[in-house]
Symmetry: C2
Subunit: 124 residues, 2 copies
């Protein structure tokens, strides 16, 4: 598969795919003329990368935990980093949830204030 096809299949831009390769997140074979060739598995690979980016991980972080997928390499350091990222995400989910609940509280009290025609008050 060439880069354009991978781009349309994953919904990621061609530029982004080349960028992923620069960051060592993605590799490709080259045709004699220098064009990139991807196996079918690249689609899932790119989708995983996108998911991790969306979760707020940086290229550096992803490249640190991705070798497991790539080379089948499983080292204790890799597992440590993986666990660390998992924990970071769990903590982040907790923060987001409490912030969401705070917005919810503001929303509820504000809605009541609107119904009662009173000015709104924000809890601590």
């Amino acid at each position: 598969m060439r880069i354009g096809e991978l781009a349309t299949k994953t919904g990621v831009s061609v530029r982004a795919l080349r960028y992923y390769e620069q960051q060592h997140l993605l590799t490709s074979e080259r045709s004699p003329s220098g064009q990139r060739q991807y196996p079918d598995g690249a689609v899932g690979r790119v989708e995983l990368i996108q998911e991790l980016y969306a979760a707020g991980l940086s290229s550096r972080t992803i490249v640190g935990i991705l070798p497991c997928v790539v080379t089948g390499e499983v080292t204790p350091e890799l597992l440590d980093r993986l666990a660390a990222e998992r924990d970071r995400m769990t903590a982040r989910i907790g923060d987001l949830t409490s912030t969401r609940d705070r917005l919810e509280t503001i929303f509820t009290t504000s809605t009541e204030s609107l119904a009662a025609g009173k000015p709104c008050a924000i809890p601590g």
Copy 2:
């Protein structure tokens, strides 16, 4: 309170506080010589701003939902935006959770592979 004190109390840089003012997230009185003066309530205000930034909201978004706190203004449009952001956050929490679970799965299977001395495999 002057800007330096507010900065140390909130753990936010002086530069950031001036930036918040530029973005209309924060207001200040000025002394005759032009120095910013903040009331005590500014501390909680800045902390709320930080929390919303940390939740991934942009200045534009925050300024769109913050007037409720500021002026006590409660309009239907404001409540709509508030609800929309709350829903966006709920959705984001869901995405993060599934990604975290995926990392967890990778971690678990990789740990087993390491124990068994086998190469790791990544699910779906």
